[in-house]
Amino acid sequence: MTTDTIAPVEPALSHPRDVAPPPRRRRFRNLSDLHGRALVVRYILLVVVLLVLLGPLILPLMAAFKSSTEPIFGQSVTLLPQHWSLDAFRTMFEQTNMVRYILNSLIVCALSVGSALVLATVGGYMLSRKGWRGRTVVFLVVMSALIFPFESIMLSLYAQVQAWGLYDSLLGVWVPSVLGPFHLLLMRAAFLGIPDEIEDASFVDGASETQRFSKIFLPQVKGSLVVVGLTAFIFAWQDFLWPLLVIQSDDNMTMMLGISRLEGSFGTDYRVVLAGAITAMLPVVITFFFTQRYFFRGIEEGGLKF
């Protein structure tokens, strides 16, 4: 989560929003010189790669829709269910602690998104402002938190969480995602991108620091706020290693931890595990499809890893 971000990244290309959209009818004519057979070959390739990339993910998950009389392993196994059924999902919700897992994950996500947004905005804003002593020091301190991988601090963080009495609690899960240093730097960069003239004008108008922040600056960084919120959400939802370290009781497990334990705790019916996997995957994938331009922006701007 941390070292992924320090290496230099190629300058991000201009975002789609910065480029005036080409006239609709001519949209594709200038962008692609593929015609006729070449175009057909291109589409065939695109579909083949699509199958290769998505097949190994979707096909095994399909077994969750098989009815309980159908085998999911062994010689007579079929690729797709012969009798589609939602039994596995019903079993999952009725006989496992899944509802609790989902609730726990949502709580951790809400905490993480809230804290990351507030802290990254406030801190990133002041780090981007000139004219106060110590900003370079603070900036370097935050930067230095990006050098080491999370895996190298997880043990001592664990000891700390235990000392604070947060072991086996959702607050303990929250700890490393309260504020990613990267979020702070992303917001700082966003505020730096606002022209000085705008701030100078607000000085002249006698706006106070808080007014300048809320009226002038905050409205200009909405896009970056979305990127921060989304990545905080995805990270909190998908994190596995840290909850695995600090959560012990079933009632406090997050979604990812919960579904990884289903196989052991739920006998041999792997259908239920796969149903859990689908349930865990859907919220993120749906979110992604509605907000994808922010995802791609996040990657291009900072090599941010989900």
């Binding site: 692609s32 801190g123 990133g124 402002r129 994938v285 992604f288």
Partner: protein, 332 residues
Amino acid sequence: MSTTTAPVRGPGQGTVPSGTGTPPRRRRTRRPPEVRNGAARYRAWWVPWLWVAAPVVVVAMFYLFPFLNTFFLSFTDASPLSGQGENVGLQNYRDLLSDPVFWNAVLNSVVYALIVVPLMVLLPLLVALLVRDKVPGIGLFRSLYYVPAIASLVVISLAWSAILRDQGMVNVALMDIGLIDQPISFLTGRWTLLLCAMAVTLWAGIPYYMIMYLAALANVDRSLYDAAAVDGAGPVRKFLTVTVPGVRTMMTLVAILVTIGSLKIFTEVHLLSNGTGGIGGESQTLTMYIRAVGLDPTYGSLGLGSAGAVALFLMTIGLLIASQRLNADSEN
């Protein structure tokens, strides 16, 4: 930035009290001196610190302190239950370096990197080239391609664990076409388990790095391809002489990120082996080793685990420095 004295039109203009007698209007509309100096913008020196206090405290408490504490713990015999322990000097490091399980984990990580890095540098680039041209519908393809990267490692690992087990689809299919008589135990052999985990890493990583390459490819001058075509270059030649030099910086970056990522692999191996790291933990990665020796409820030693964490950190830093050197060399 010019120090203009012209009246500034702004929304707050009307609210400035014009006063009586000599209106201070001229002075008010002039840029205040503090703006020109770029100093003393705030009511007091501590106002900016008030703003950054909370974020800095969080970063210090949850990142920097644990980091320093890792070094401290690695010189003690602290256990996961007792917390702080006695100073034992370099004993943990001696134990670490003489632990065959540690070297085993290092070897696993090195093999992981050796296989994954070249594939992860090349395959996403090829996919990016495929989705670069803006043919109708390309946006949908790009989005769908990205789904494995967003689907979470846990989900992919659980799905693959279903098809790779002894009675899973892969073995069944291989037996059906007569390639093998007995199912292959992919998930128990040391190297087959690691290979399966690598496949998961690749599947989840290709779409992610594809997007990074797309950004880099946008900066490659298209006319170079035409020039190469005039010189009679085929697709392979164009790839090697135009594409690769054009995205070389990004290729280096991807190589560094993936190498460091290989040191940190955890979820894939953990889930494909049901948390054991293979028979006797022989497929354990470095992160699994740190967790296992550090947090084992009975035999755990936070000290030894922290020594492993320090080793992981040093390897990461070493790789970063080495890559910087290589980069600097290749640019000269």
